[in-house]
Amino acid sequence: MLVCINIMNTDFIFLILTGALAGAASGYLGSYMVLKRMSLVGDALSHVALPGMAIALTFSVNPILGALVALFIAILGIWYLEEKSEIYPEALVGIFFTASLAIGILITPEPELLEALFGEIEKVTRTDGILIIAASALIFFVTRAISQKLTVGIISEDLAKSGGINVSKINLTYLLLVGLVIALGVKFLGTLLMGALVIVPAAAAKNISRSIGGFQRLAALAGFASTGLGIILAKMLGFPSGPTVVLVAVLLFIVSYLFKERAY
């Protein structure tokens, strides 16, 4: 308990809350990634952030900004492939992600490499926190506005288009938000693991959800809880935050999986 009280200063509480908020936003967005059957893409997408962060670090710019630019470029590529090809070119996407990671590792300055790969929560600044709060609000607002159209588009593109929904515009908006949430989370979880926060809480929520509304709320809650709890646990046990957060999320997934049958 003593440890617990010791670490609870205001800065740390601010960190937990901003982290948990980014977790909630990524769980909420991730719900559609899981429904779109793009889990693997979502999972590995964060690797793309590394070369962007490396370039930003070299020029002493905020690495979140570098991550954001790299992710947006990757998102445009994924969106283009989604629009133009009948069969999703999985191998191509996998190769591109791995190449980004390899290039990123080579060009990231040595002292910052570990931090960029696995996240370093101590390096999250006030400015980052405020950025995370503003961007999370934007993510919740926009996703809510496009959520119905997105869902109909996932069920049947023809049904959506015949109802006047611009499926390709909606998809691009959604994917850009995914890029944004990953950029927000890389400082907490690192480029290797941030993608997991988009997928794992949503996959856990899907196990026990019957309705789309319930699914989204649970996914956001699971993202919030795994990030919040993960950060606290990591601090108490002296572990790095990224792997701890991801393992808490995976634990939630396992528990929800055990309750899966009841949702039918």
């Binding site: 429904l35 119905q148 869902t151 109909v152 069920i155 049947s156 023809d158 049904l159 288009k161 015949s162 109802g163 899907k206 959800s209 019957r210 309705s211 789309i212 509304g213 319930g214 699914f215 949702a263 039918y264």
Partner: protein, 240 residues
């Protein structure tokens, strides 16, 4: 386009890569009539539908009347059993008013258990889309299409995925809706007997237009041979 036409299609061509899927097809659909599109597998029926809905690129002219409001019921939806979306949520995407949703559900036949029909449609509202039977899903899709208050309904194979006993009721339902709501209906079918029973006109399609007109006038041995090949006995009209 003539005044009483709801849709006019002129010289429609659809190609995939270098393959001709629909070859120079022209036809008109008169307001408040029922048109059946028939043809063998791979004849381009669904492609023709998707072209007139503007879902795929085509060459030629597709002109809808300015007041045409289209409701589309797709052939099949592959909704995974664990896709978390209830019928209620799905229908609420189009209509916020519970009362209207209940009315539409009643009109598409969710009232079979007369004594407890309210319970019946409550049950269906809470069911996941992916857990519905083929017939139920088709009715829900019809309800979804009707919620947009269309004056023309496009059905792609209303009976696919539905067992035989339910088939009759989907067609009689379509017929009933048409009488109630002043609808123009265009449907794709592979069964000649339903075409005779429910359609005012028929378009026989096998890449190109084989015949077009009232079913009893234009469907004959020659057009059937062109459609299905020599072995046409299977497709001939049985009287019930």
């Amino acid at each position: 386009m003539k005044n009483n036409n709801l849709l006019s299609v002129q010289g429609l061509n659809v190609n995939f890569n270098s393959h001709k899927i629909v070859d120079n097809v022209s036809f008109d659909v008169i307001r408040d009539s029922t048109l059946a599109i028939i043809g063998p597998n791979g004849a381009g029926k669904t492609v023709l539908f998707r072209a007139i809905l503007g879902l795929i690129p085509y060459k030629g002219k597709v002109t809808w009347a300015p007041d045409a409001k289209i409701g589309y019921v797709p052939q099949k939806l592959f909704v995974a059993k664990d896709f978390p979306l209830t019928v209620s949520e799905f229908l609420h995407f189009k209509e916020k008013d519970h009362k209207i949703i209940h009315e539409i559900l009643n009109s598409v036949g969710f009232k079979d258990v007369a004594a407890s029909h309210i319970h019946n449609d409550v049950r269906v509202l809470k069911t996941k889309l992916g857990a519905l039977s083929g017939g139920e899903l088709q009715r829900v899709l019809i309800a979804y299409a009707l919620l947009g208050k269309p004056n023309v309904l496009l059905f792609d194979e209303p009976t696919s995925g539905v067992d035989v006993s339910a088939e009759e009721t989907i067609y009689s339902l379509i017929d009933k809706l048409k009488a109630e709501k002043d609808l123009t209906i265009i449907f794709i079918s592979h069964e000649l007997q339903v075409v005779y029973k429910y359609a005012d006109s028929v378009l026989c399609l096998n890449k190109e237009k084989i015949c077009f007109g009232p079913p009893r006038e234009v469907v004959d041995k020659e057009s059937l041979t062109k459609l299905y090949g020599e072995d046409v006995s299977l497709y001939q009209h049985h009287e019930h």
